[in-house]
Amino acid sequence: MNDSEFAIETHGLSKEYADRVVLRQIDLALAGSQIVCLMGGNGAGKTTLLGCLASLVRPTAGEVRWFGRPTAIPSARRWIGMVAHESRLYPQLTLRENLVFSGRMYGIDQPLAAANRWLAEVHMSEHANRFPMHVSRGMRQRIALARGLLHEPRILLLDEPFAGLDDAGTIWLTQRLRGLRDAGLLICLTTHDAAKATELTDRTCVLRYGRLCQVSQCDEADAMQQGRQARVA
C-alpha cells in the first residue's frame, strides 16, 4: 500500500473561494504514528485544510496525496477516517444501523458483527437501538468515532473533536486517540484549545490567514506559545 513514507503529503495546496483566499501554498508531509494538531484563529483555514486532506474540498491549486497516491481514487478513501464537528449520523437510522450502513459501504465482512464490536468498544452497546436525536452529543461523538474507525483506516482526521464533550468524554477520547496513535495511525485534528494541544499532540501546525506559519515537534512551552499566536491571528 505504501508508495511513500508519509501518510499525508500536500504540495502547494491552495484554496480560493469567489471572494477570498482560504489556503495559500501549504506544503506538509506527515508520517504515521503521531498526533498532529492544526491550530489557528477563526477563519485561519483549519477546517478547509482538514477538508482538503479528507478530499472533501477540491483545492484550487496543488495536491494532496495519501501514502503517495492521489486522493481522486475512490478506493483510496478506505485509508481515511473522519470525525467531523457534526455527527454525520442519519437521523432515521439507529446508532447500530448507522454503523452497519457505513460498514457495508466500506465492504467490511460481517458489518453487523463489526458494528456490534465497535459499539462495545465505545461503551454504547446498550444504546445501539436508539436514534441519534435521542442520545447526547457526547454519545453521538462516540458513535461518530466508531464509524470513523470501523473500516480500520490508516489516517484519522478530527475536526474540533473535544467540542461539547464533558470531562469524562474528553478523558475517554484522549485515551482513545493515544491508543490509536500507538497502533500506528496518523491522527490529525483541529482545536482551539492550546492546553489540549499541549497535552495530546506530537506536532503542531499553526495556520494564520491561510498560511502555514509553524510546524514543530513541540514541547509544552512551544505549544502554549503557538496557541497564543493562533488566538491572536
Binding site: 483510496a76 478513501r77 457495508r104
Partner: protein, 223 residues
C-alpha cells in the same frame, strides 16, 4: 458498485418509510391537483381526451418535484452528505442510486394519479393500460435524472425548492410535452407511427438526461 448502489437505495427507503416526510406530501399534492383539475373539466368526453394527458403530466411533474427536491436536502442534515462523499464509491454509483429512489417515487405517484385522472375524466383505463405503462416507464427516468442532478446542485447551494422547479421545468418541457402527447394519442386510440415517434423521443430524452447526469453529477456535488 452494485452492493453500494443497493445499500444506498435501502438506506433512503428505510429513512423515508420511518420519517414519512416526503412521499405522503407528494401523493397528497398529486391528489389535490387531480381533484382541482377535474372540478374545472366540465367538458365533453372527446374534449377531456384531448387535455387529460397534459394535465396528468403537469400534476406528475409538480407533485414529483417535491419528492425529488427532498432527496438531497435530507442528506444535508447534520453533515450526512459530507460523510457520504467520503465513502469509497464512485459519483456515478451515488447518482444512479439517487435517481432510482426518485424514479420509485415518481412511479408510486403515477400508480395513484393515472387511475385517478382516468377515473375523474371518465376514460377507460384498462383499454389503454399497456400504452400507459410504456409511457410511464419511459417518461419517468428522464424526469428523475434531471431532478436528481438539479436537486443535488440546489441542495449544495442551500436553495432547495424554489431553484429546483425554476431550473427543472424548462429542461423538462420537451419531455413533459412528449409524455402528454403520447397520452393524448393513446386515449384517442391513435397507436400509429406518430405515437411511436413520440415514444422514441421519450426514450431519447432518457438516454440524454441520464448520460448528462452521470457526466455532470461530480461537478454538481462539489462544494
Amino acid at each position: 458498485m452494485t452492493a453500494h448502489y443497493w445499500w444506498i437505495i435501502h438506506k433512503d427507503l428505510v429513512s423515508e418509510f420511518r420519517a414519512r416526510r416526503v412521499w405522503p406530501a407528494m401523493l397528497l399534492l398529486g391528489i389535490v391537483v387531480a381533484l382541482v383539475f377535474s372540478m374545472q373539466m366540465d367538458l365533453l368526453p372527446h374534449q377531456k381526451q384531448r387535455i387529460v394527458g397534459g394535465l396528468l403530466w403537469l400534476a406528475v411533474f409538480f407533485a414529483g418535484m417535491t419528492a425529488v427536491d427532498r432527496s438531497f436536502a435530507a442528506e444535508h442534515e447534520d453533515g450526512c452528505w459530507q460523510g457520504l462523499k467520503m465513502l469509497p464509491l464512485s459519483t456515478s454509483t451515488l447518482f444512479l442510486a439517487k435517481l432510482t429512489v426518485n424514479l420509485l417515487a415518481l412511479w408510486a405517484l403515477q400508480i395513484l394519479l393515472v387511475p385517478l385522472f382516468f377515473g375523474l375524466s371518465e376514460l377507460p383505463l384498462l383499454a389503454h393500460a399497456r400504452e400507459m405503462l410504456l409511457i410511464s416507464a419511459l417518461a419517468s427516468p428522464g424526469m428523475a435524472a434531471v431532478g436528481s442532478l438539479v436537486s443535488a446542485l440546489a441542495a449544495g447551494s442551500g436553495r432547495s425548492g424554489s431553484l429546483l422547479v425554476l431550473v427543472v421545468l424548462p429542461l423538462l418541457i420537451p419531455l413533459v410535452l412528449a409524455a402528454a402527447e403520447c397520452t393524448r394519442l393513446a386515449v384517442q386510440g391513435q397507436i400509429d407511427g406518430t405515437w411511436w415517434r413520440w415514444i422514441q423521443l421519450l426514450g431519447a430524452f432518457d438516454i440524454i438526461f441520464v448520460t448528462a447526469g452521470l457526466l455532470l453529477f461530480e461537478y454538481a456535488i462539489e462544494d
